[in-house]
């Protein structure tokens, strides 16, 4: 009897000890103690929602090259991937939040993090050892800030999408110019000189293409060039309807209607071929991926592409990008963090950037062969200090959707630039005060 009691006590104590050990292990997991050490301690299934790695090539890169490397390091983690595009990312995120099935790791754009962080969807990475200080050496300040909300880190940057000016030097030289413009006055003069129309007035070549980019991104680039900002420094009110904003919008409206540099409909954001490649534009505000597009479509033109910062009151360069975040509700936070850190690490980040022709967020990748061999990406990285990003307030996604129709209304002369921006500012203020 007494032997049975002793055995029972021993068994109970063993179970209690095992339970305590398990709980301790779980607790250390949830606090992220195992996150950066890697190895077999990290386990579980994690879901990844990504708008990058798109298409067959992107999928192949992620599933055949990157994830096998991740599994080598973390054999007990299983990753399920949900591919989407930036156009559908909002829907995916909304429905996943509504259903309570939030992916463990989510990639989202610059300007998106603030809203999801404020609403408690994202994990505070500062609490898990990823602090602003730990990122400072690897990224420029403005890029680190793109992943922050309320002083804490919620996202780690992977790639940047930059917009700046690019000139076709062969066409510029034909017109007697040997360098891209260095001021708005020069930009206007050269745009007019480089524009070609047929005898019947049909536009054959625009001197400066502003229509192949999303109107929001085009306006933001010009706004930054005019020395303006999207919001006040404390993010309490819109600032894009300032004098600088109106000047920026007036400049592009005048390019179309007064200088007749480009006609509405001459190009669009979903144009099959970039007008700089087809020779239908001599200069343009464009995306850094123009280099890879040209490599595929007309490699002989690569030497003719000359990037330039649109210089007004300030250097005009805009950057968006893709950042990796983690769900606050993740059931396997250590595994999720391991995946996030892996995807943002130099090797995988470089491969993802190369696949999309984008700008690596990590400063150390400036010396990589990919960056050295891509003039536009190299230019973007060298000038990141003067680049500004979009976003800021947590209601950015709501405000963002309203910018395009406002800019279009001004471009179509349905409203003056001042009216269009004031109306947009009123809408933005209502959203911010809500």
């Amino acid at each position: 009897m007494s032997t049975r009691t002793t055995r029972g006590k021993t068994a109970a104590m063993s179970i209690a000890a095992a339970l305590a050990l398990t709980l301790t292990a779980c607790a250390s997991d949830s606090q992220g103690a195992t996150t950066t050490t890697g190895g077999g301690e990290v386990s579980g299934e994690v879901a990844l929602l990504t708008p990058i790695y798109e298409g067959t090539e992107g999928q192949r890169l992620l599933e055949d090259e990157l994830l096998p490397q991740f599994y080598e390091k973390y054999p007990d983690v299983k990753v399920t991937v949900d591919y989407t595009t930036y156009n559908k990312l909002n829907e995916k995120l909304t429905t996943s939040v509504a259903s309570g099935l939030i992916p463990d790791v989510m990639m989202m754009g610059v300007g998106w993090v603030e809203g999801f962080a404020e609403r408690g969807v994202l994990a505070d990475l500062s609490e898990r050892g990823i602090t602003p200080e730990s990122l400072e050496g690897d990224y420029s300040d403005e890029i680190v800030r793109a992943g922050m909300w309320d002083g804490d880190v919620y996202a780690v940057p992977i790639m940047l999408d930059t917009r700046f000016g690019v000139a076709r030097m062969d066409l510029l030289r034909e017109a007697g110019y040997d360098a891209p413009p260095t001021s708005w006055d020069e930009l206007l003069e050269m745009s007019e000189a480089l524009t070609i129309r047929a005898a019947d007035g049909t536009l054959e070549r625009t001197g400066f293409d502003i229509l192949s980019l999303d109107p929001r991104q085009m306006f933001e680039t010009m706004l930054f060039s005019a020395g303006g900002d999207l919001f006040t420094e404390d993010l309490s009110a819109p600032a894009f309807n300032s004098e600088a904003g109106v000047d920026a919008l007036q400049f592009v409206v005048d390019l179309v209607h007064e200088s007749k540099v480009e006609d509405i409909g001459f190009s669009s954001a979903n144009a099959d071929v970039n007008p700089l490649i087809s020779g239908r534009a001599a200069m343009a505000i464009t995306h850094n991926s123009l280099w890879t597009q040209t490599e595929e479509a007309a490699p002989e033109l690569l030497d003719q592409l000359e990037p330039f910062v649109i210089q007004g009151e300030a250097p005009g360069m805009f950057f968006g990008g893709t950042l990796a975040t983690m769900a606050k509700s993740s059931k396997n936070p250590a595994a999720a963090q391991a995946l996030l850190e892996f995807l943002a690490s130099p090797g995988p980040a470089l491969a993802a950037n190369e696949q999309r022709g984008n700008v690596p967020a990590l400063t150390e990748l400036l010396d990589s062969d990919y960056v050295k061999g891509n003039r536009l990406v190299q230019f973007a990285m060298e000038n990141l200090d003067s680049a500004k990003r979009e976003g800021g307030p947590s209601q950015w996604l709501e405000i963002r959707a309203e910018i395009k129709p406002a800019v279009e209304a001004a471009l179509l002369r349905q409203k003056t630039p001042q009216e269009a921006l004031d109306d947009l500012a009123a809408t933005a203020k209502t959203a911010m005060d809500r």
Binding site: A98, D263, G265, F266, D272, L397, E398, P405, E408, L412
Partner: protein, 320 residues
């Protein structure tokens, strides 16, 4: 079904019982038990449909009405705000524009595609070579994904390499930036809607045409009626019930237009092609304002309800 309808009420059952001869009364409980069994079986049979409609239609509809009175952003619990969403919609110029665009789209796509569909249906109801091939060809847009169709139309409307401008150039008409010009963009969307809507309407009309008694045409021929006269005096009047049906489903379909706008224009330029459904989508998935999206959906529902009731009234008076 007949038994269920014939089942007597409690009151009539009592009075019937008094009238039934004693010898026959013993059979009544057996009959009643069998009636109950039949009713139970009937309810069991319709239960899956009731559950399906309740779960996927009734509850979402009730939830939409309830959410329309709240501020709900998915991330936090809905907050009751009464009619504030409706007040905001009333003062929202973009939603007013979307409503007007939807009405214009419906006004043009429904009658135009109906008129074209009836003509094609009559033509394809004749004994033609490759008749089935033609019918399939006209019906194809209906069963093709709208996104794929819209992509093809994007190429057709392309100002530089598009088919439409190339065709116009042949006859000396200058091309347009169809989807970038606010004066043309809505017409571009309407044309796609007309083209895509012809197939299903044509199919319904062909089915209706095959039910028209041939003797009417024979009698008209004996009286010397021309083909045009037969069309207006026999075919169109005999197609009235089908026409009302097509009219109602077309209006409902037109008010729900979304895919074409999403792919072709994204609501632009400058909101010139935005529609009610597109604004619902924007509120819900771009602005995370589910309460507002619900209120906009309720208004869309109200629009459709009114249109359907008016059409139903018209159908009934026609039947009488």
């Amino acid at each position: 079904m007949t038994d269920l309808r014939a089942a007597p009420s409690n009151a009539s059952r009592t009075s019937d019982r008094a009238a039934v001869p004693r010898a026959l009364r013993s059979a009544a409980p057996r009959q009643s038990r069998s009636g109950r069994k039949m009713r139970r079986a009937g309810w069991l049979m319709v239960a899956p449909s009731i559950a399906h409609i309740g779960l996927w239609t009734a509850i979402p509809v009730i939830a939409t009405f309830a959410l329309s009175l709240t501020d709900y952003n998915v991330f936090s619990a809905p907050r009751w705000i009464g009619l504030e969403n409706y007040v905001e919609i009333w003062g929202d110029p973009t939603f007013r524009k979307a409503t007007w665009n939807t009405v214009v789209y419906t006004f043009w796509t429904v009658p135009v595609s109906m008129a074209i569909a009836v003509v094609i249906a009559v033509a394809l109801n004749q004994k033609l070579k490759l008749q089935n091939w033609y019918r399939a060809a006209f019906f194809l847009p209906q069963v093709t994904a709208t996104v794929a169709i819209a992509m093809v139309w994007l190429w057709i409307y392309n100002p530089q390499q598009g088919l439409l401008n190339a065709a116009l150039a042949v006859v000396g008409i200058p091309g347009q930036a169809w989807l970038a010009d606010p004066d043309w963009a809505l017409w571009g969307v309407i044309l796609v809607g007309v083209w895509q809507g012809i197939g299903i309407k044509m199919l319904i009309y062909i089915a209706a045409l095959q039910n028209i008694d041939e003797s009417l045409y024979e009698a008209a021929s004996i009286d010397g009626a021309s083909a045009v006269r037969k069309f207006f005096s026999i075919t169109l009047p005999m197609l009235k019930p089908a026409t009302f049906f097509v009219f109602v489903i077309s209006i409902i379909g037109a008010f729900q237009v979304f895919d074409q706008v999403y792919v072709l224009t994204d609501g632009g330029p400058a909101n010139s092609t935005t529609m009610m459904t597109y604004e619902v989508y924007r509120s819900a998935f771009q602005n995370f304002r589910m309460g507002m999206a619900s209120a906009q959906s309720v208004l869309l529902f109200a629009f459709l309800l009114v249109v359907t009731l008016v059409s139903r009234r018209a159908t009934r008076s026609d039947a009488e």
